[in-house]
């Protein structure tokens, strides 16, 4: 296993892409959840208090896992929130 040294994150439609080395704003000691927060901030995506998950090849990553637990093949993520569509107008 080779530890990941960089991260690539994107939304599901691959339109907001962010790439960073794990020596900059993120280090191997940061968690998956913290990496997702950085992605949202840099891409100007409103977090909205939603629950966000990072997926690697269809598999959800543990948001509390630290980045040094990931191997190189797990360094490309799709970032997906838990949301609802529909006619309802009020946000709760």
């Amino acid at each position: 296993m080779v530890a990941a040294t960089k991260l690539k994150m994107t939304d599901i439609s691959r339109q907001k892409r962010f790439e960073t080395d794990l020596s900059d704003a993120l280090t191997p000691r940061h968690t998956v959840g913290q990496a997702v927060d950085l992605y949202l901030d840099r891409m100007r995506i409103p977090g909205d208090g939603l629950r966000w998950s990072a997926f690697n090849r269809g598999v959800k990553l543990d948001s509390k896992a630290t980045l040094d637990e990931l191997d190189e093949e797990q360094s490309e993520w799709t970032v997906i929130p838990e949301v609802s569509a529909g006619a309802k107008s009020a946000l709760h």
Binding site: I12, D48, A85, G86, S89
Partner: protein, 344 residues
């Protein structure tokens, strides 16, 4: 890409009981950053309409309010310039809406809920633009072109055109089977909402199609249903696992498709039996993009080239079947656009 924003105003979104600047505001939100985010809308519009080159190293964006009477803003003008030395390209758009329009709707709901505004009482919205004293750095949005595939419609299984038409600078083609499935799923689910993950691609053709002005066509090819999504009245919960699985399926199909968006329904009632004609039918129309829908667009699909197909009733539409309406980002909000079917 380096993005420079030239802006000399601060913007705030205010709600008042009276359409009078002397009236004390019910709410005030600084929305300067949401105004700056319109640079992204303008950029994607320029890319999709084939005006702005992909891969320019530098873009300068100028934001100017267009006043009704200062400080009341009517529209926001966003002007983009790429490159320099003779090859400069300009693209500009005007906006009456932006993220502040959704913030304002949320405020309005809050004011109703807490009783500050009585049910049925209206509030006046004003977008205020004041000259900014000194420097106030804005975070430029990350401008990235969406993934566009150089190719032909045939490589995605296109055989012939069906009904419908195009917006000249934003042509949208939808697989006929997918469109029929969405209408049938809406009908079968009744008042309960349902939906699926839509696959497709942005394709750059050699020449624009007839009656269009851009080579870039948005193609919606198929819709994947998944039991992990769950629907009820007025709300359809999207499963992140199912969405992620959709991407795996798109990759396996090997045609270069990606997850483009979700299709969802706004219900169709067998009880009223006349949803397209009955003005007092309680179900929302497919032309209505709710705050929940906007939240999906701004978080799950944050790219401004994303479409939102909604099936449901449409007042005045002929017949007793749901209608599929497709919304695209236009003028800072999602608006229904004309689209065309194709057969595979």
């Amino acid at each position: 890409m380096q993005v420079v924003i030239e802006n000399s105003h601060r913007f705030s979104s205010e709600l008042r009981r009276k359409a009078d600047l002397d009236d004390v505001p019910l709410s005030t939100d600084d929305v300067t950053q949401s105004v700056a985010d319109l640079v992204d809308d303008t950029y994607i519009d320029g890319v999709l309409s084939d005006v702005l080159p992909i891969g320019s190293a530098e873009i300068t964006a100028t934001i100017e309010p267009v006043f009704k009477t200062p400080p009341l803003v009517d529209e926001i003008d966003v002007r983009l310039r790429t490159g320099g030395n003779g090859s400069a390209v300009e693209h500009h758009k005007r906006f009456k809406s932006g993220r502040w329009s959704r913030t304002r709707q949320q405020r309005l709901l809050q004011l109703r809920q807490e009783g500050t505004l009585a049910e049925g009482e209206t509030a006046f919205h004003m977008l205020i633009g004041l000259p900014a004293a000194g420097d106030h750095p804005l975070q430029p949005p990350a401008l990235q072109p969406p993934p566009i595939i150089d190719g032909t419609l045939e490589q995605f299984g296109f055989r012939e055109f069906g009904e419908g038409g195009f917006v000249p600078d934003r042509p949208v083609l939808v697989n006929n089977r997918m469109a029929e499935d969405a209408v049938n799923a809406c009908l079968a689910a009744g008042a309960r909402e349902t939906g699926g993950t839509a696959l497709g691609a942005l394709v750059r053709l050699k020449e624009p199609l007839a009656n269009t002005t851009t080579r870039i066509v948005t193609l919606l090819t198929t819709c994947l249903e998944d039991q992990r999504h769950s629907g009820k009245l007025n709300e359809w919960s999207i499963s992140p696992e199912a969405i992620a699985a959709g991407q795996e399926i798109a990759d396996m199909r090997g045609m270069g498709e990606s997850v483009m968006t979700i299709v969802h329904t706004h219900g169709f009632s067998t009880e009223c039996g006349n949803c397209n004609q009955n003005a007092s039918c309680p179900l929302a129309e497919c032309t209505h993009v709710s705050l929940l829908d906007y939240q999906v667009m701004e978080t799950l699909f944050p790219g401004k080239s994303t479409l939102m197909p909604i099936a449901g009733r449409k007042l005045g539409a002929p017949g007793k079947r749901p209608v599929l309406e497709i919304h695209a980002w236009r003028g800072g909000e999602m608006r229904p656009v004309r689209w065309k079917r194709y057969q595979d």
